[in-house]
Amino acid sequence: MASRLDFYFRQRVTEHELDLAFDLLEQADHDLASDIGLFGIVSGAVPAPHTPIADLTIDLDAPARGYDRLGQRIAYGTANERWLAVFLKFDRLASDPRTDGHSARVFFRQDESFQLVVRQAPEGPIGSAPRVPLEDGELLVCDVLRRAGGTQIVAADIDTSRRQAFVLAHAEAVGVLGRLWTVLPPDVTTVQSALDAIDHLLAAHAAGTALRHRSIDVQHAPSAPLTSTNVGAALAEILDRLASRLDGAPGSALVGADAIAGAPSAIAAGSVDAQLSQLLGYHNGHLSSRVGAHVAAAISLLDSGGAFTATNVASILAELVAALNVDHYRGNEASPGMHKAIHQPVLGSGRVLLWDARGTGAAAARLRFYLDDSSVWVTMNASWSGTAWVRDTADHCAGLRLSKDEFELMQYAGSTPASFATWQKRWLLPMNGLVNTAFETTALTSEVGHVSMECTNTSAAAASIALGCAVTFRTRMPAAPSSVTFTSLSTSPGWSGTPAVLRSTRDGLGCYAFNLTDPGRAAWWHGTFIAVS
């Protein structure tokens, strides 16, 4: 709000009173800015060294605005530009002053002269300031551009695009007869339109978009080895020569190439044909001879699997030899490639695979060697999964195991199951056991053996004589047999009955028989037994 003045009807207002009205409003405006603490440069007025050449002044950027402590606004806008126009104007130069009959002073001579008139156009934003309008009684020489802060007029500031040069007659006012023209359009009736059409065609011709010369219409001065006299024929001749496959005159012999430096081989400057020949010579020499070929150290290997430490063939071969030489004979030694003693590091825990041999490729005959904490296992058609034995194919599988104290044979007949934890049949030789002369079986077993018993009645009368024998099994059965089957091979005349079993254990059995025998005669039973346990 501001203090007010209440002017009244028919008041004679003084200058002071009018000024006071504005002063009150202005003071209110300043007080408002001061009361709210509006102080300082709001934007712009950033100082910088004067350009283009630094001097004892500085440049402030524009626009800028701010308020002083009295609340007074300080602001200036963006720099503008202004066009000046320089005109030549006719004039007369009076001279030879005389006094006429009215006692007035006149100039008797009125010679032709001129004036230089400089007019300025209104100021405007840079790039869009208006220009000075033309005057009928004056000739525009040039326009001059002035910008704020400029102290020089340089060539770039002088514009002669509007210069009013001498024109005898405007081309629009001069007619032409173009009826017989073959290129220009028929609606061309004036010099100006003809020149415009020609300019259009010439521009298109220069740009190659229309009215192009045919190559056969362009003259060519023959120069060896070309003989054609126009460009079209010369190009065809060049193509023919470049495409030539004639011995001794190939097209590549016409194409030059500069020298190519290199080591150990370089190529001299010459034709492409000569350089190709030189390259082929180098290449063939490289392929057919070790001399000049790559040294192995200069051949790299893309080791995507990360199998080697080295990165060139020579070092990799050395790495291979160093690794293979531990367990193999080298190529320059006797028995090259053959194994020495096979060394293997710790391969893991549990039961680890040492060797896996496929032999002839028969799946049921696949051979494996395993080693665990106590035994060596040799298997056929069975692999160890970590928890069970797994058949390679649906067929019998077998194995043997050797430890410090035991030797064992194993088999699992049939084609199922696909995997198992315990072998179906096992023959164990306890090398460190109390009984260590026979295998102990841990499977259903049939033992086949021979039984013979014979006796003679030495008495004087017929008598029932007793015969007996014992057999020992080849292997120790898991338990005493539950069945024995006797088959006779030979019996004495009059023999009756079958041997009976007296005792049986896992190691053998005893058997006996009674037979009524004449005096002085012998009784016998020879046969086989099959014991099942």
């Binding site: 007949a413 049939g414 841990t442 499977a443 259903l444 077993t445 049939s446 898991p478 338990a479 005493a480 047999p481 539950s482 069945s483 024995v484 089957t485 006797f486 088959t487 006779s488 079958t498 009976a500 079993v501 007296l502 005792r503 049986s504 059995l509 006996y512 086989t528 099959i530 099942v532 346990s533």
Partner: protein
């Protein structure tokens, strides 16, 4: 496997010598005893072979429990009790109930 299955009155037998199969009545099986040892003699097979069954003399536990050898021994012990008309022991009855219920046959491939 000589005996493959059994009923109350007969057994099914396969001859170990020739492989012939036949059914033998319990009453055709002859018990032979000498001292404290008993055995059972089956009728001769057509091939002339004679099978002698050997029941266990004591209560020793078979080392391969559940195996075909064990099951065959159980059948032999059961047949011996029937032939000799002895009462089946509780131990044998328990073993039979566990390992060889009626109708179960013994297969050598086990």
């Amino acid at each position: 496997m000589p005996i493959t299955s059994r009923t109350e009155t007969s057994i099914e037998q396969t001859c170990a010598a020739c492989g012939a199969h036949r059914t033998i009545a319990i009453t055709d099986i002859v018990a032979r005893t000498r001292g404290d040892y008993s055995s059972l003699e089956l009728p001769p097979c057509v091939c002339g072979a004679v099978e002698v069954l050997l029941p266990r003399a004591g209560d020793d536990e078979h080392p391969l429990q559940g195996s075909a050898a064990h099951l065959h021994q159980l059948v032999v012990d059961e047949v011996a009790s029937r032939v000799c008309k002895r009462q089946l022991t509780h131990k044998l009855l328990d073993e039979l109930a566990r390992w060889l219920p009626p109708g179960i046959s013994i297969r050598r491939t086990e």
